[in-house]
């Protein structure tokens, strides 16, 4: 009788599996139709980097070279010169080699003025690899186009329809890094 019991066990297991499969058919698909529906990606997830300009069109970047030093892949090249008008430096060249960038966002973390930020923009595939070598104009363009971005110092910021930049409401802020840094500053 052990043979019959074994056969029955096998038949029962197969039946259970097939019933489970059939239940799946009725359930709705979880698929997002990518080119037609874009996924909502929070800017905290590092997809791309951008340079942010102030509301009056001047650079936020103060050419402190912190990002260039912090970059583990050594893809940031900054050239600067002394500001003839006053103190500080003027940015002459800011190249970011996105081909080799490993998207670690170390540059974003060390930036003292939140000039380089992460954006949730991910559609950057190209036919020619040299197109990915970004210069300052391109990074500024991504920054101008971005509506929402993130840096640990200022948290998530949004661009209003009238062009002014504001800190995003708390429900848009990430729970982790920004509050941690804010707590450190407070202490």
């Amino acid at each position: 009788m052990s043979l019959l019991a074994e056969v029955w066990e096998a038949v029962r297991a197969i039946g259970q599996g097939m019933a489970a499969v059939n239940r799946r058919v009725g359930e709705s698909a979880v698929t997002e139709f990518y080119p037609y529906q874009k996924p909502e990606i929070p800017p905290v997830s590092v997809q791309f980097l951008a340079l942010i300009q102030n509301e009056d069109g001047s650079d936020r970047c103060v050419s402190c070279l912190a990002c260039e030093r912090a970059c583990p892949s050594q893809v940031i090249t900054i050239e600067r010169k002394r500001n003839p008008a006053g103190k500080g430096f003027v940015l002459e060249r800011f190249d970011l080699d996105f081909v080799n960038c490993m998207h670690c966002a170390n540059c974003v973390e060390v930036c003292p003025v939140s000039a380089i930020v992460t954006v949730g923009d991910f559609e950057h595939a190209v036919y020619d690899v040299n197109m990915l070598k970004a210069d300052k104009a391109f990074l500024d363009e991504i920054g101008r186009r971005a509506q929402v971005w993130y840096s640990p110092k200022f948290g998530v910021e949004i661009r209003k329809p009238d062009g002014s930049i504001e800190k995003a409401p708390p429900e848009m802020q990430p729970g982790g890094l920004a509050e941690l840094l804010a707590g450190e500053e407070g202490a």
Binding site: I14, V25, V30, N130
Partner: protein
């Protein structure tokens, strides 16, 4: 350092072409499947009903020339049926597997993705048909043709309605067994001729599996033949007028079901082409149209083996005729409709099994064939003989 001026706007967005699934268009998918089924039915009615009726009524079949043209036209129509069946079943299988896995399957090309297989077929047509250096060129080219022809031959003997059959052979069952065995030759020869280790392993597995499962399959068919007293498929269907064979012949039915899935080389019996182990097994080195013929044969068999389940065990074309004269054209068309509906249900069950079960191990496969199915099939054969002798359920 001089730098090439690069365009500021380097975002290249893919074009939005094809069917947009986010726009709600209810019923498009259902309409597409209805059209699929309708076109297949129309093709069957033309191939099995209209053309033979036309040739018989005009008396063209008496002359040699008329018979030649009849044969050519029927062969073309049968090829058309095979192609349409494969085109439909590939996209239906992909959609069904998608549904099982909570995704959507082919979606964007054609309404609800129904043109996907057309694009696949056109692409394979334009693909390089490559033969590696150390293949046996003749057998390498012949093997896909053998496999496809074997699937194609089975189509000839299947009756779709009363009197609607391309060749009503008096040894139909033997013909079916012979044709499906021919398919095993194509697979084994194709695997061995390509001179690679994956193909060789696939051919060994295919040989072991297909030959082993041929035995219980043939015995199950023989049981049906013994019980119904004829090897002619039309007679077997006629014999099921009162009671479908699945009730008295339940054991041969089970054996046939398992063995035909093994003949089909689909999961859980896909060892010959085990993609995760043998990178395609016997069709590793085939590309372009040669590969397409293997693909086509597989899906034609996915239609024909369920069709044989229906013919042998589920009453073939039998169904309520609503008082129509069984010899009339309308009744025969209705019968072919019943046949196709039953076949569609069984194709769905085959796909369901394919979507559920994981792959067997080699020794489990052999155990099942020789220790499980063969005794069961012999028992079924004896049972059929006893039923035939003592019960006479006709």
């Amino acid at each position: 350092m001089s730098r090439m001026p690069l365009p500021l706007d380097r975002h290249i967005k893919p074009k939005l072409v094809g069917y947009d699934p986010t726009r709600p268009r209810p019923g498009v998918e259902r309409l597409a499947y209805t059209l699929f089924f309708g076109s297949l039915w129309a093709l069957v009615v033309v191939a099995y009903g209209l053309v033979p009726a036309l040739f018989r009524s005009q008396g063209w079949l008496d002359g040699a020339l008329g018979f030649f043209f009849y044969a050519v036209i029927e062969a073309l129509l049968a090829f058309g049926i095979a192609a349409v069946v494969a085109l439909i079943l590939i996209v239906v299988l992909r959609k069904y597997l998608g549904k099982v896995q909570e995704r959507v399957g082919p979606m964007h090309y054609g309404p609800a993705g129904v043109l996907q297989t057309v694009f696949d077929a056109l692409k394979l047509l334009g693909k390089e048909d490559f033969a590696p250096a150390n293949v046996d060129p003749l057998i390498f080219r012949l093997a896909p043709a053998i496999t496809f022809v074997s699937a194609f031959l089975m189509l000839v003997a299947v009756p779709v309605a009363g009197g609607w059959v391309m060749a009503d052979l008096n040894v139909g069952l033997l013909f079916i067994v012979a044709a499906s065995t021919l398919g095993a030759y194509g697979v084994v020869l194709g695997g061995l001729a390509q001179g690679g280790k994956w193909g060789m392993l696939g051919a060994f597995r295919a040989g072991a599996q297909l030959v082993s499962y041929e035995v219980p399959l043939a015995l199950a068919l023989l049981a049906v033949g013994v019980y119904s007293g004829s090897l002619r498929l039309s007679d077997i269907v006629e014999h099921q007028q009162g009671l479908w064979h699945v009730v008295p012949m339940f054991i041969p039915f089970l054996v046939y079901l398992v063995a035909s899935i093994a003949e089909l080389k689909s999961t859980p019996f896909d060892l010959p082409e085990a993609e995760s182990e043998l990178i395609g097994g016997f069709n590793t080195e085939y590309s372009g149209m040669s590969f397409a013929f293997f693909f086509l044969a597989e899906f034609v068999e996915l239609f024909l083996l369920p069709a044989l389940v229906v013919v042998l065990f589920f009453g073939g074309w039998h169904g309520p005729l609503f008082g129509l004269d069984p010899a009339s054209f309308a009744a025969q068309a209705l019968q072919s409709f019943y046949f196709l509906v039953k076949t569609a249900v069984w194709v769905w069950i085959f796909m369901w099994i394919r979507a559920t079960l994981p792959r067997f191990r080699d020794d489990q496969l052999m155990d099942l064939a020789w220790k499980g199915l063969l005794p069961l099939a012999l028992f079924g054969l004896i049972l059929a003989a006893f039923l035939r002798m003592f019960v006479e359920v006709v």
